[in-house]
Symmetry: C2
Subunit: 210 residues, 2 copies
DNA sequence: TAGATTGTTAATCGATTAACAATC
DNA sequence: TAGATTGTTAATCGATTAACAATC
């Protein structure tokens, strides 16, 4: 879309942080922010902010700064968030159910429209407004709603199998919460979130400073 | 502890992945693995595996490879996981409750020993075996059990306040699930996990390939 | 014009990879 | 010894930062 060169991996996460600050600033009625202000609020350098934005265009005014609302809208567009996205969750265990209810997704334009499981005991139960459905119904749902995004919250042992099925059903982007190393075909975007590993990062660094 | 030089940020996460594979290999009765096998299983290069390990010592045998159980134990020690860690959660909303029940933490040595909230309506309710307690009781609990680790699952607006209080209570390492940019004093390890941002990574990359 | 801040280039820094001597 | 694989150095690659011309 906007991409001219290879974008550093970390840029995407920082754009999210910038956008959250810009939204706040706009809501406060602030009409101009500088790269320095954005940097301070998000814990990076002003050069980093300007460099991240420069990959996608020119959004500021020299000598002045950026308009928060305008820049917010640009970043949301860059991130693909100038629309809402339907998302399905596979795995209606505790984590899957919690993610289905997590308000932070809807706030950023992600609507959980389905939750699927293979456990017959769970089928028909409700998670908030959504009824847990059998995994076999995934393909139809994906087709009907043109769903591109899915979240995997199943045990590690069945994660690869589930991901293969999701890809088969037409899902194009997957977040994997199972502590398993999964592979996907070319063209499918996969992201692993290892919750325990986050705590391990802490214990590693606490140990380091001994 | 082992550290001689600056360790790349990403090394810690990769060590987690290596350790999971090594555990599996050991459980299968495999007596030797090569850097190439570890690399293949975790999606990195063999050179990366050897380099990551080299920061901490020499764990293999030239011409032969690594013993999975031995290397697993070494890595667990490096990560600070040669012991169990008590962990508290602040925020007994849906996400906090789900994290409290998530089995993946205990598997890696993290025991959720308390969950705290400020909402009087929640105090006394149970999440699994654990009773939700008022936040004022945190300090005593931290002291009694020598707790170093905490997870923040409160709304963004109160996250900084809660983190300040945790630090005051003696918590040294914090995972923040609130979509807010938090700052902590020198010596406190903070890690932010932005769940919505994970989905944004997908939409960004799906948009990219247009 | 003087002061401020962007957009961008060049310099720096750090992480990954390739290559190979050491050695089983 | 021949074959294999580690540990480590040097080369490469990529990301961050500093610096500054452009310009409001």
């Amino acid at each position: 879309m906007f991409k001219k060169f290879k974008i550093p991996e970390a840029t995407v996460g920082r754009l999210t942080a910038y956008s959250r600050y810009l939204k706040e600033a706009d809501e406060k009625g602030i009409s101009t922010v500088s790269s320095q202000q954005i940097a301070k609020a998000t814990g990076v350098t002003p050069a980093q902010v300007r460099k991240d934005l420069a990959y996608f265009g020119e959004f500021g005014t020299r000598g002045v700064g950026y308009n928060p609302r305008e820049l917010y809208n640009y970043i949301m567009k860059i991130l693909g968030l100038d629309r809402r996205w339907p998302v399905i969750i596979i795995g209606a265990g505790r984590l899957g159910a919690a993610l289905a209810m997590y308000g932070g997704f809807a706030e950023r334009g992600f609507d959980i429209v389905g939750i699927f499981d293979v456990d017959p005991a769970k089928i028909g139960n409700k998670v908030g407004e959504i009824e847990i459905r059998p995994l076999q119904e995934l393909k139809e749902k994906v087709k009907d709603l043109s769903i591109k995004l899915g979240i995997v919250a199943v045990p590690a042992a069945s994660a690869q199998e589930v991901v293969d099925f999701m890809v088969d059903c037409g899902i194009k982007g997957i977040i994997n919460f199972a502590p398993a190393n999964i592979s996907v075909p070319e063209g499918i975007v996969l992201r692993r979130v290892d919750l325990a590993s986050q705590l391990e990062y802490l214990t590693f660094h606490l140990g380091e400073s001994r």
